[in-house]
């Protein structure tokens, strides 16, 4: 047995995990309504931010709570198990915090991190564009030197909580290479357009954001030009994949529970639904996927305890498996629940839609496969 909880990636030591569980329990009933209405009430978002959960893995010297990767994972699983939008807020805030922690200057960290940690500031990650999804190297948003500052011009799409974020980490193109800048959303030239009716993540405040010659101070650039995608955005995305993975574990487990509860009690031809062999098989397959995803996520947690930069590939694998588990368990749960599964307020239906989105964001499944295959070729292939 491992000697320490950390070596095991074990959890349950942090009161923040219990706080997340409580918060999730309160969100369980209204989450379907938030989904239907297309937003989480602002006071709920503010309350979540104020708990300090959103960037709790930051070191305490920056105002964080030193939350270990495994505990952060449990927090994401609790939130994701009831409401992907809440988990999404955690994901984007902690992505931006992770990128700033790793690649901010001392002054930038001191300026931004405490406010992200205590939730007085909420952040969004603005990378995707019309012509740049999985291939973020194609972004065209311009970041130009202008006097003693910078001028940002472009259009970003699908920014999670872009509707409400106070500041955006924007990936753009400078004469000297791809770069990342922080843009406060109250600056002149920032226009936000809410996205509605998309397949999933309907309550996640998704917005398209137009940056129309937005002027920012030079000290809002994170890392030198050239490092914007390869270092800064890559660090953010790695962190994002980690909390998405755990959020999907939560979704998959919730779908298994809902499907099993229904199959145990609903009678079909005088016997419980779950006694029908084909229904039992759906439950079993979902349960295996969910359990496997949890173990891969725990494996990623262990790898990440070694510090920044560690566990990148393990996290990709976990996110890949967990998004698949969420989508498949969601599909199975909708099937088992029947008409109740396709109802507008169906939790399984919502998880199914949200999990499908998780198979696309933070690196589509196919991109993850390419990376994992490349790692295998590296390990087992000959040097040419």
């Amino acid at each position: 047995m491992p000697a320490t909880a950390e070596a095991d990636g074990a959890t349950g030591t942090s009161p923040l995990v219990a706080a997340a569980a409580e918060l999730a329990a309160r969100a369980r009933e209204p989450a379907s309504r938030w989904d239907a209405e297309g937003h989480v009430p602002p006071d709920v978002l503010r309350a979540l931010a104020a708990t300090g959960l959103l960037a709790a893995d930051l070191p305490s010297r920056h105002g964080g709570r030193d939350l270990a990767p495994a505990d952060l994972g449990e927090v994401a699983a609790h939130l994701g198990g009831v409401c992907s939008a809440l988990r999404g807020l955690l994901t984007v805030q902690s992505m931006v915090a992770a990128a700033l922690l790793r690649w901010g200057t001392r002054a930038q960290r001191a300026d931004w991190l405490p406010r992200l940690a205590d939730g007085t500031l909420t952040a969004g990650f603005a990378a995707t564009e019309d012509g740049a999804g999985s291939a973020l190297g194609e972004v065209t948003t311009a970041v130009e030197d202008s006097g003693d500052g910078l001028l940002v011009t472009g259009r970003k799409r699908w920014v999670t909580f872009g509707e409400s974020a106070d500041v955006l980490l924007v990936l753009g193109r400078h004469a000297e290479g791809l770069t990342t800048v922080l843009v406060e959303t109250d600056r002149p030239g920032v226009h936000r357009e809410s996205v509605t009716g998309q397949l999933g993540m309907r309550a996640a405040g998704i917005a398209h954001v137009t940056l129309d010659g937005v002027r920012i101070p030079a000290d809002h650039r994170i890392a030198p030009p050239g490092a914007g995608l390869s270092h800064v955005a890559a660090t953010a995305l790695d962190h994002g994949r980690y909390t998405v993975a755990w959020g999907c574990v939560g979704m998959a487990e919730a779908c298994v529970a809902d499907a099993a509860a229904h199959a145990a009690t609903r009678l079909q031809g005088g016997v419980p639904l779950g006694r029908h062999q084909s229904v039992g098989a759906l439950l079993a397959r979902s349960a295996v996927r969910a359990a496997a995803a949890r173990e891969l996520a725990a494996r990623a947690a262990r790898a990440r305890t070694r510090g920044p930069g560690h566990g990148v590939t393990e996290t990709i694998m976990a996110k890949y498996a967990a998004a698949d588990a969420g989508a498949e368990a969601g599909r199975a749960a909708v099937q088992v629940l029947g008409a109740a599964g396709i109802a507008p307020d169906s939790r399984a239906g919502r998880h199914y839609r949200d999990a499908k989105v998780m198979e696309i964001i933070e690196g589509a499944q196919e991109v993850a496969e390419s990376h994992m295959a490349e790692q295998l070729l590296r390990r087992f292939g000959a040097v040419t």
């Binding site: 070191p59 010297r61 920056h62 690649w103 901010g104 200057t105 001392r106 960290r109 001191a110 973020l136 190297g137 290479g177 994170i222 890392a223 030198p224 050239g226 490092a227 995608l229 390869s230 270092h231 890559a234 660090t235 790695d238 920044p308 930069g309 560690h310 990148v312 390419s370 990376h371 490349e374 070729l377 590296r378 292939g381 000959a382 040097v383 040419t384």
Partner: protein, 93 residues
């Protein structure tokens, strides 16, 4: 200096050759040659930090330092020399 340049260059070249699955010369710019995927830049930073027990800060992110094995070797030695002469950091906050 605790480690000879030739030894460091050799180690870095070996890591690159294994990671990129082809012989990498001391002056090959593996980024310009298109040999790396989107996650390699971070992986290289992490490897250098672990192997040579140093921390790559944002101030070190002159990407020219990371382009070739020879430049990376020079960076590692400069960084180690800094660490030996600079006062002890109380933390990076």
């Amino acid at each position: 200096m605790s480690r000879g340049s030739a030894e460091t260059l050799d180690e870095i070249t070996r890591f690159l050759t294994e990671a990129l699955r082809r012989e990498v010369g001391p002056d090959d710019d593996y980024f310009a040659l298109g040999l790396v995927d989107s996650l390699f830049a971070l992986e290289l930073v992490t490897h250098v930090e672990d192997r040579f027990e140093l921390t790559v800060e944002v101030e070190d992110l002159d990407l020219d330092s990371f382009r070739t094995a020879r430049r990376l070797t020079a960076f590692v030695h400069a960084k180690k020399a800094d660490a030996e002469t600079a006062p002890v950091h109380a933390g990076d906050s």
